[in-house]
């Protein structure tokens, strides 16, 4: 009941926003809608865990975690929205505002879905709701980005639907087919392994396209660079993670079925490949927003890597969702402010950012250090967790490659970012006025991500473990110890990919 309400509130708010006639007040209504969603979420997650009452929606630990993150993140974005849109008053923001709230409704549906086909419907709905947002600027470049996004993501996740159906089919072999993932996990041992593996590959390619895993990521840098700053932040911080959740749901079923060893090398490979691809692209990237977009590809790769490691890597990857998302929000919003001041996204033409737009400049530089894994930020914590999990489970080569790629990204991103951040202010320009509305939300996100580097709220870890513990560490209980042994063994003896 509560779960359906959580979807309904932003949905109704989207319709309300569409009806508001004033271009100036509309963004504030979005903020109000987001605030209502946050309030309701706080209430929903404070209720104790209960057995599912609805057929299609349920609030388990994982959905609580994602829900809290998404709602806080969205609220921060919408407090930035009014001030940002004030710079674009000549263009109607009706569609943008309504679609932002609609995408919140769709993302909530992804998170609280209990039925995998319903989850798919919601993921496709997020694509459709965000596409008009990307086209906000109405120029040929935005058109190209939107078209690519729409076609690639739709086709990609059509494959995910096929994968979802394969999953249901794998359960057909022993009685009733089902797509409720709690039921799938409960009867995991009886699923047909061939169909299960086929299903995971399709789901990985499908949702991986939407998540931005290389080589299916080609839409991502375009969509992120051509859309308004708020939308880029939303895509990178929230939407990609929703697709990741889709992969996690199916992953948990596959692992519970004891087929983890078959798919984990694939995840490690695709994760490291995404990181490597992004690292190379980052080194030669001169466009500030594309730079951050490639960093998204890199971090999505890290999450896939975490799933591939298994065991302690899974909670680490899930924790990274929140850390990476918030930092990406800071980076994209600050990049938006910098772009606004300089009128170009090319970092070759930017100099003395710290002097010209001091607040946004500093936010960007600090967030750059945080995202590249400097101690003191959230991503540092989850990356260390990922690495220690990798070494613990015997992935020595993969772990070393992971560290190497982190260095490469740090050097590549650092030389570009610091190059334009430092230096004198361009002649004949003064420091830009930066309205509070455009700096405070970024500061809030930045403070949040830094504090997460020192303290992870216990309820977050509880929620993650509540769902993840059952299928993944379930393999560690004595009866299934042998299965876990073969997992580790197959990793250490077979030639490792990547």
């Amino acid at each position: 009941m509560l779960a359906s309400l959580l979807i309904l509130v932003p949905g109704v708010a989207a319709a309300a926003v569409f009806a508001v006639p004033s271009n100036r007040w509309r963004p504030w209504v979005v903020t109000c809608g987001a605030a209502c969603h946050t309030t309701l979420t706080c209430y929903a997650v404070s209720t104790p865990f209960a057995p599912p009452t609805l057929a299609w929606f349920h609030l388990d630990g994982l959905s609580r975690y994602f829900l809290v993150f998404i709602t806080v993140f969205f609220l921060i974005l919408t407090t930035y929205l009014p001030s940002y849109l004030a710079n674009n008053e000549h263009r109607s923001n009706r569609v943008l505002c309504a679609c932002l709230l609609a995408s919140l409704a769709a993302m909530t549906a992804v998170i609280v879905a209990r039925h995998l086909a319903v989850l798919w419907i919601a993921v496709e709905a997020t694509t459709l709701a965000t596409a008009p947002c990307i086209y906000f600027e109405h120029n040929p470049r935005a058109l190209e980005a939107t078209w690519k996004y729409l076609v690639l993501c739709s086709v990609g996740i059509a494959l995910a639907l096929l994968g979802t159906f394969f999953l249901a089919y794998s359960s057909l072999h022993h009685g009733q087919p089902t797509l409720l993932f709690d039921e799938l996990i409960a009867q995991a041992g009886e699923l047909s392994p061939e169909w299960l593996r086929l299903s995971f590959i399709f789901v990985l390619v499908g949702y991986g396209t939407k998540m931005g895993l290389a080589p299916m990521h080609t839409w991502l840098p375009d969509a992120h660079s051509e859309s308004p700053a708020v939308v880029s932040a939303l895509l990178s911080g929230a939407l990609l993670n929703c697709a990741f959740l889709g992969i996690v749901r199916v992953y948990l079923v596959v692992v519970a079925a004891g087929q983890g060893a078959m798919i984990q090398p694939l995840l490690v490979f695709i994760g490291l490949f995404s990181m490597a691809f992004a690292a190379v692209a980052i080194c030669r990237q001169r466009d500030i927003k594309r730079l951050v977009a490639y960093s998204s590809v890199e971090h999505m790769g890290m999450m896939a890597f975490g799933l591939g490691i298994g065991g302690a890597g899974v909670p680490a990857a899930l924790l990274h969702v929140m850390h990476n998302g918030l930092t990406k929000g800071v980076l994209f919003l600050a990049a938006g402010n910098i772009y606004h001041a300089y009128g170009t996204r090319s970092m070759d033409q930017m100099q003395g950012v710290l002097r010209r737009v001091p607040w946004s400049g500093w936010f960007f530089v600090v967030a750059f250090f945080v995202i590249t894994g400097a101690p003191g930020g959230g991503p540092f914590v989850s990356e260390i967790m990922l690495l220690s999990a990798a070494f613990e489970h015997g992935h020595l080569a993969a772990g070393c490659l992971f560290i190497g790629l982190l260095f490469l990204v740090f050097i590549g991103m650092g030389s570009t970012v610091l190059g334009c951040a430092l230096g004198p202010r361009p002649l004949a320009t003064s420091a830009e006025r930066e309205p509070w509305g455009e700096t405070l939300p970024i500061l809030a996100a930045l403070l949040l991500v830094i504090s997460l580097g020192f303290y992870t709220p216990p309820f977050v870890t509880d929620w993650i473990h509540h769902t993840v513990a059952a299928p993944t560490t379930g393999l560690l209980v004595p009866s299934a110890d042998a299965a876990w042994g073969t997992t580790v063994h197959s990793f250490t003896t077979t030639p490792r990919i990547g």
Binding site: A117, I121, P140, R141, L143, F165, L198
Partner: protein, 228 residues
């Protein structure tokens, strides 16, 4: 028993795939895609009758659920057979685009690839472990072949609308597979999927309109500005 009706329908769906791969007239393409959609929508109650022997199929259903089944089937067929084609015809009119589409690799090679794909789907489906009662009919190979045909259309067509049609055919293929999973994927969920497809095509239609205004002939070959 079920194969008596389902298999000929699947053969028809496969033939329509080949027709789609070889034809260049846009209006004809839209018409055939719609026809395939209606055919698959019709399959739903038929398969429902055949695959649920323990429930007795349609004959033992309560009038209410029978009505629900009829309404949802009609809605799915309406979307696939009427709304989407209407939308696409309107896009042609509004955008004033060329009424023929072209293929990057030519029509004959596409057809050949489609043929190879269909053969491969038949062989592949044989190698998969299928539960009792599913071995002998064509649903699974037809699903694979249709997804493949849609994918082929999608990657070989130059024009935006041709790609949209490829996407719809792909979805048709997935729909065929969904027919096997009536218990796990209720018709209402299937309806949600089709609704998503509809909204997707709607948004794509709007974008096609914008593409054609920005570039002549709505060819996506112009969409190549954004690079690394």
């Amino acid at each position: 028993m079920i194969s008596n009706i389902v298999d000929p329908c699947m053969v028809l769906a496969l033939l329509l795939n080949f027709y789609l791969l070889g034809v260049s007239r846009l209006r004809m393409l839209i018409f055939v895609v719609a026809l395939q959609g209606v055919l698959l929508g019709l399959m739903y109650p038929i398969v429902h009758q055949g695959f649920l022997p323990e429930s007795g199929g349609l004959t033992t259903m309560s009038p209410l659920s029978l009505l629900r089944l009829a309404l949802l089937t009609a809605a799915i067929m309406g979307i696939k057979g009427l709304l989407i084609p209407k939308l696409l015809f309107k896009a042609i009119l509004l955008a004033d685009i060329r009424t023929t589409i072209s293929s990057v690799i030519g029509f004959v090679p596409t057809l050949l690839l489609g043929g190879i794909g269909t053969g491969a789907a038949l062989i592949f489906a044989q190698s998969l472990p299928l539960p009792e009662g599913h071995q002998h009919h064509l649903l699974i190979p037809a699903a694979f072949a249709t997804v493949l045909a849609g994918f082929l259309m999608l990657v070989t067509r130059r024009e935006a609308l041709g790609q949209v049609l490829g996407y719809i055919v792909m979805e048709n293929g997935i729909f065929i597979f969904g027919l096997l999973l009536i218990e796990a994927v209720p018709l209402l969920v299937e309806f949600g999927v089709v609704l998503d497809l509809f909204v997707g095509v709607f948004v794509m239609g709007i974008m096609v309109n914008h593409v054609s205004r920005a570039f002549p002939e709505a060819s996506t070959e112009h969409l190549t500005t954004l690079r690394e």
